[in-house]
C-alpha cells in the first residue's frame, strides 16, 4: 500500500457533492433544522446545551456531526428523535423533514414518525438489542407497531430482505443477541432501523464499541444501505478519522453551537474555525511521523551491547483457565521472547485488539501476573524469585500508567498521597518540604500547574489532568521503564496529543523506555520506535513503524492497517475488501531491528552467553494452530515475509 495513494473509487459521489457545495436555499433540503435550542435544568443552574443550531441535510447526503463530549451533538440528535427527557427541554426551533416539522409533533405522531421517517442507530452495539427477544421479532415488532399488517410469509420476506441488505444471513432472525458478534449485532441494529424505509437515518457513534476491522465493515454496510435507499444520514461521532472516511459534509459543534459547517474536503484542507483545526490536528495521520525513529541497526551490531538487559521475556506465555473446574484453557499469550536494554531508551508499541493478550503482557512485565511458561527476567534474575532488595529496585525502576485515570486514584485520599506515596516508600525524599518540591517539579514536567492540582481529590480533576498526573507520578521515581496501558483511550481527543507528547518526553528528556500498549495503530505509528502486533495471543508482526504500518506484510496487520480511519478524505478505505480473515493465523513476520530492544518469536534467550541472538533452533511451534508451519522464519534483520 502506498503512503499517498491516488483517490480511490467509492469517493466519487462525495466529490460530486463537494463540487456542488449546495447552499441550503437553492434546493429544498431533506431536513432543515432552524434555531434549535435545548436547555437542561439542574438544581442550581440552567445549561443551554444546544443554542440556536441550524443546518440542512440533503437527500442522499452523509452529514457528520462532530464534537467532544458535552458539545451538544447527541442532544441535537435526540431532539430530532423527540427523545429529550426531563430535566432537558426543547425551548425552540424547527426541524422540517419533508412536510412535517419533527419538533411540532405530539402524542402518537411522535411515535409514528420514528422508524417510518427518522431512524436511529444507537451507540453501544453490544447492548442495543433486547437480550430476550430473537432478532426477527425485534425487526417485526417495530413494523407491527406502525400499523403495518403482514402475513406470515410477508413477515419472513421482509426479515430476509432487511437482513440481506446488511449482509446477514436469514438464519440470524432466529438467533438471540448474545449469540451474535459485536459487528453482527450492530448490523442487526441497522437492519431494524431500515425496515420501514425511513428518509433519514441518525447513527450515534455506531461503531464506538467495535475494533477497527469491524468498524470498517459496519460503516461500509451502513453507507451502502444508505446509498441504496437514497436517504439522508447524520453520523454523530468524535473520531475525525472516521468522519473523513464516511461523511460528505461535516458540522463541527462546540459548546452547543455550530463552529463550522463545511464539505468534508474543505474542512480538512482549510478549516475556518480554530476548533475544527484543533480537532483535525489531534488525530495522527499517515506519512508525517512526528519524530524520527531510533536508528535501525543490523543484527550483528547488537551483540556488542553486552550489558545485562533491564527486562527480558524468556519464552513467556500465559494460559488462563484449565484445570479441574476452570473450563477449557484459554491462551492469553503464546510464548514469546524479547529483551530490553536500559542503555538506549526506546518506545515499543504493543498493538492489538481486545483479547489479543497485550494487557496480559503488560501485567506480566509489571509482575502482576505470573507466566504459565517461561520466565520474566529483571536484570538477569527471574522476577518470581527476586530477593527483597532487588524486588524493591524492580518496583522503583518499572512503573506504569494505566488506561483509566480515575480508577488509578484511591477516591478516599487527596491526589497528593498518590504522588507522595512512592517517594516515601522508596525513600527518595525526606520531609514534607522536599517531597512537595519533588511533586511540584514532576507536575511541571508534564505541563501541570502544581497549585491547581495538589490538595485536591481525584474527582475534582479532569480526565486529562488525572492522566498527566499519573505520568508525573511515574516520573517521580526516575524509573527505567514505564508500561503505559492505553493511556489515552479514556481522555478527550484534544488532550490525547499532549499526553502522547508527555510520553515521548519520557524517552527523549528523561531517558525512560516505554512499553506502549494500545489498540490504535495510528498513535503507535507516531510515538513508537518499534511495533509489535498481537492477535489472539500470538505475535503476528513486528518491526519499525514505517515498515509495519506503511508496508504491512502479515495478513492480519494488512486488515488492521486497511481499516485505520485516516483523517484524510483523499485517503479513504479501499473499495476492495479483501477478506484476509482466513490467513490471519499465518506465521509471524518480523522485520528490522533497533538497538535496545530485541525480539525473538519463541525459544530461549541465552543471556549469559552475552549474545542475545543465538541462531534460532528449529522453531518451537510458535503458533499453536499451525503445527505444520514450523519453519525458520524469525531470523532477525531480514524480511521473511511470505506475502511480498
Amino acid at each position: 500500500m502506498e503512503a499517498t495513494p491516488p483517490m480511490e473509487a467509492g469517493t466519487i459521489d462525495a466529490r460530486t457533492i463537494d463540487a456542488k457545495t449546495p447552499t441550503p436555499a437553492t434546493t429544498k433540503p431533506l431536513l432543515a433544522v432552524r434555531d434549535l435550542s435545548i436547555d437542561f435544568y439542574t438544581a442550581t443552574k440552567v445549561v443551554h446545551a444546544v443554542r440556536g443550531v441550524s443546518f440542512d441535510v440533503a437527500a442522499g447526503e452523509r452529514v457528520g456531526l462532530v464534537g467532544e463530549s458535552g458539545s451538544g451533538k447527541t442532544t441535537t440528535a435526540l431532539a430530532l428523535m423527540r427523545m429529550i427527557k426531563p430535566p432537558g427541554i426543547v425551548t425552540g426551533g424547527l426541524a422540517q423533514l419533508g412536510d412535517i416539522d419533527l419538533l411540532a409533533l405530539h402524542g402518537r405522531q411522535i411515535r409514528e414518525a420514528r422508524l417510518r421517517h427518522v431512524s436511529y442507530v444507537p451507540q453501544g452495539a453490544m447492548n442495543a438489542l433486547n437480550p430476550v427477544l430473537r432478532i426477527g421479532e425485534q425487526i417485526l415488532d417495530g413494523v407491527a407497531d406502525h400499523g403495518v399488517r403482514l402475513t406470515r410469509a410477508e413477515q419472513k420476506t421482509l426479515v430476509a430482505t432487511v437482513l440481506e441488505s446488511v449482509g446477514l444471513p436469514q438464519a440470524i432472525a432466529l438467533r438471540y443477541p448474545h449469540q451474535l458478534s459485536g459487528g453482527m449485532k450492530q448490523r442487526a441494529c441497522i437492519a431494524i432501523a431500515i425496515a420501514l424505509n425511513p428518509s433519514l437515518i441518525i447513527a450515534d457513534e455506531p461503531t464506538s464499541a467495535l475494533d477497527v476491522i469491524t468498524q470498517r465493515q459496519v460503516m461500509k454496510t451502513l453507507t451502502s444501505v444508505q446509498e441504496r435507499m437514497g436517504c439522508g444520514l447524520i453520523l454523530i461521532g468524535h473520531d475525525m478519522g472516521l468522519m473523513a472516511q464516511v461523511a460528505d459534509r461535516m458540522i463541527v459543534m462546540q459548546d452547543g453551537l455550530i463552529a463550522e459547517d463545511a464539505p468534508v474536503r474543505r474542512l480538512f484542507r482549510q478549516p475556518a474555525h480554530s476548533y475544527s483545526r484543533m480537532l483535525i490536528d489531534s488525530v495522527p495521520s499517515l506519512g508525517e511521523r512526528r519524530q524520527p525513529a531510533a536508528a535501525a541497526v543490523a543484527a550483528d551490531e547488537t551483540g556488542a551491547a553486552a550489558e545485562t538487559p533491564l527486562l527480558a521475556f524468556d519464552a513467556v506465555g500465559k494460559t488462563f483457565g484449565g484445570g479441574l473446574l476452570g473450563g477449557p484453557p484459554k491462551v492469553a499469550l503464546a510464548p514469546c521472547s524479547f529483551l530490553l536494554e536500559s542503555a538506549a531508551p526506546r518506545i515499543v508499541a504493543v498493538v492489538g485488539q481486545s483479547g489479543s493478550g497485550k494487557t496480559t503482557m503488560a501485567r506480566m512485565i509489571l509482575g502482576f501476573e505470573t507466566p504459565t511458561t517461561g520466565s520474566v527476567r529483571y536484570r538477569g534474575r527471574d522476577l518470581a524469585h527476586l530477593p527483597p532488595d532487588a524486588a524493591r529496585q524492580f518496583r522503583r525502576e518499572v512503573q506504569a500508567v494505566f488506561q483509566d485515570p480515575y480508577g488509578s486514584f484511591n477516591p478516599f485520599y487527596k491526589v497528593d498521597r498518590t504522588l507522595a506515596q512512592p517517594l516515601v516508600s522508596f525513600g527518595l525524599a525526606r520531609g514534607r518540604k522536599a517531597i512537595y518540591a519533588r511533586m511540584e517539579e514532576a507536575c511541571a514536567a508534564v505541563g501541570l500547574k502544581a497549585g491547581e492540582i495538589l490538595g485536591r481529590f481525584p474527582h475534582e480533576l479532569s480526565g486529562g489532568q488525572r492522566q498527566r498526573l499519573m505520568v508525573a507520578r511515574a516520573l517521580l521515581l526516575k524509573p527505567r521503564l514505564i508500561v503505559a496501558d492505553e493511556p489515552v483511550s479514556m481522555v478527550d481527543a484534544s488532550l490525547r496529543m499532549s499526553i502522547l507528547a508527555n510520553m515521548q518526553d519520557l524517552r527523549t528528556k528523561h531517558g525512560i523506555s516505554v512499553v506502549y500498549i494500545t489498540h490504535d495503530l495510528a498513535t503507535a505509528y507516531h510515538v513508537a520506535d518499534y511495533v509489535l502486533v498481537l492477535h489472539e495471543g500470538h505475535l503476528v508482526e513486528a518491526g519499525p513503524p514505517e515498515e509495519v504500518i506503511e508496508h504491512p506484510a502479515h495478513p492480519y496487520t494488512r486488515s488492521l492497517v486497511g481499516a485505520i480511519p485516516w483523517p484524510d478524505p483523499d485517503r479513504r478505505w479501499s473499495e476492495l475488501d479483501p477478506d484476509l480473515r482466513a490467513s490471519w493465523s499465518a506465521p509471524p513476520v518480523i522485520r528490522g531491528a533497533i538497538t535496545g530492544f530485541h525480539l525473538r518469536a519463541a525459544g530461549k534467550l541465552d543471556i549469559r552467553a552475552g549474545n542475545p541472538y543465538p541462531q534460532p533452533e528449529n522453531s518451537p511451534v510458535f503458533r499453536g494452530r499451525n503445527k505444520n508451519c514450523s519453519r525458520r522464519h524469525a531470523k532477525t534483520g531480514r524480511s521473511t515475509n511470505a506475502y511480498d
Binding site: M81, M83, R111, R114, N130, V132, C189
Partner: protein, 333 residues
C-alpha cells in the same frame, strides 16, 4: 439448561439437607443436659401419667436415638432416618409419629405460603415496575414508598395490627384459627368457604408486608433497565408504550426478581411460621409453638428439618424454571 448447573444445584440441595440434619443432630448433644431425658423425668414427676408408659417411651427413644451406641453410629443412623423423613414419635402425643403430625399441618402452611407468595410477587412486581415507569403518577408515587415501608415490618406485627382492627375492634374476621371451632374438617363447600374466610387476615398480613420487598427490587431493576441501550433503541423504534413496558422493560427487569424469589424463600418461611402462631392457624408454625411449649423435641427437629427441605426444594424449582425465561442461560451449542 446446562447439565453442569443442574448438578451443581442438586448438590447444593443435598448439602443443605445434610447441613440441616447435622446441625439438628449435634445441637442437642452439645447441650449440657439431654433435653428428652429431662422432659421424660419431668413428665414422670407430674401425676396423671402412667409410669409404665413413661418407661416404654424412654426405651423407645433410647432405641430410636441409639443412645447406647458410639456417636458416629448414632450419626449414621440419624442421617439415614433424616433422609427417609423418619423423625420418630412425638413425646407429647405418644405414640403418634412426628411425620404424621407434620403431614397434617403441612398442607395448611404450604397453601397459605404458596398463595400469598404468588399474589405478593405478582402485585409487588407490577407495582414496582409501574412506579419506575410512571414517575408522573401521584398515586404510584405515594403508594410505592408506603408499601416499601411496610416491607420493613415483620409479617406477624402487621398480623397483630390487622387482628386488632379487623377482628377485635370491628369483628369482621375471626380472631384466630383455620376454621370454626365447632366445624369438622371435610371436603364440603361450606367448609371451604370457612377456611377461606379464616385465611384472609393471615394471608393479608403476609401480602401487605411482602409486596414492598418485591416492589423495591422491581423498581430498582426497572430503573436500571430503563438506562440500558436497548431501551433507548426500542424507544427510537417507535414501539407502542405497552410493548415497550412489557416486552422490553418488565420482561428484562423481572429476571433478577426470579432469582431473588429463590433467595427469599427462607425469610418467607420464617415469616409465615410466626404469622401462623399469631393467628393460631393450624399449620406447621402453630405445631412448632405447641411443641416448643411442651418440649416435644422430636417434633421440633422434624419441623425444622422439613421446612429447611421445603426451602431448598423451592429454590431448586426456581432455578430450573429460570432458563425458560432467560435465553442467555439456555444450553449453548
Amino acid at each position: 439448561m446446562p447439565l453442569r448447573l443442574i448438578v451443581r444445584r442438586l448438590v447444593m440441595v443435598l448439602a443443605v439437607v445434610w447441613a440441616a440434619g447435622t446441625i439438628n443432630f449435634f445441637i442437642p448433644r452439645i447441650a449440657p443436659k439431654n433435653p428428652i431425658a429431662e422432659k421424660l423425668t419431668q413428665m414422670a414427676g407430674t401425676s396423671g401419667v402412667d409410669p409404665t408408659k413413661i418407661k416404654e417411651m424412654a426405651e423407645a427413644f433410647n432405641v430410636k436415638f441409639g443412645l447406647d451406641k458410639p456417636l458416629w453410629q448414632q450419626y449414621l443412623t440419624y442421617l439415614h432416618d433424616v433422609f427417609t423423613l423418619d423423625f420418630g414419635q412425638s413425646i407429647t402425643q405418644y405414640p403418634v409419629r412426628v411425620s404424621t403430625l407434620i403431614g397434617g399441618a403441612m398442607p395448611w402452611t404450604i397453601g397459605l405460603m404458596a398463595t400469598t407468595t404468588l399474589i405478593a410477587f405478582l402485585l409487588g412486581t407490577l407495582l414496582g415496575a409501574a412506579a419506575a415507569w410512571r414517575r408522573d403518577s401521584r398515586i404510584l408515587q405515594v403508594l410505592s414508598p408506603l408499601m416499601m415501608v411496610f416491607s420493613a415490618i415483620p409479617f406477624y406485627l402487621i398480623g397483630l395490627v390487622l387482628i386488632y382492627f379487623f377482628a377485635a375492634k370491628l369483628g369482621w374476621f375471626p380472631l384466630s384459627g383455620g376454621y370454626g371451632i365447632i366445624s369438622i374438617p371435610d371436603w364440603s363447600w361450606e367448609f371451604a368457604v370457612e377456611v377461606l374466610y379464616h385465611s384472609i387476615l393471615p394471608a393479608l398480613s403476609i401480602i401487605i408486608a411482602s409486596i414492598g420487598t418485591w416492589a423495591i427490587g422491581m423498581r430498582g431493576m426497572m430503573v436500571t433497565v430503563e438506562g440500558e441501550d436497548y431501551m433507548t433503541f426500542a424507544e427510537a423504534k417507535g414501539l407502542r408504550p405497552g410493548r415497550l413496558f412489557l416486552r422490553y422493560g418488565m420482561r428484562n427487569a423481572v429476571l433478577p426478581q426470579i432469582t431473588a424469589l429463590a433467595l427469599y424463600f427462607g425469610q418467607i418461611v420464617t415469616g409465615a411460621v410466626l404469622v401462623e402462631i399469631v393467628f393460631a392457624y393450624p399449620g406447621v408454625g402453630t405445631l412448632l409453638l405447641d411443641s416448643i411449649k411442651l418440649y416435644d423435641f422430636p417434633t421440633i427437629y422434624g419441623i425444622v428439618f422439613i421446612l429447611t427441605l421445603t426451602v431448598a426444594l423451592s429454590m431448586l424449582v426456581v432455578d430450573l424454571i429460570y432458563p425458560l425465561l432467560d435465553p442467555r442461560v439456555r444450553v449453548e451449542a
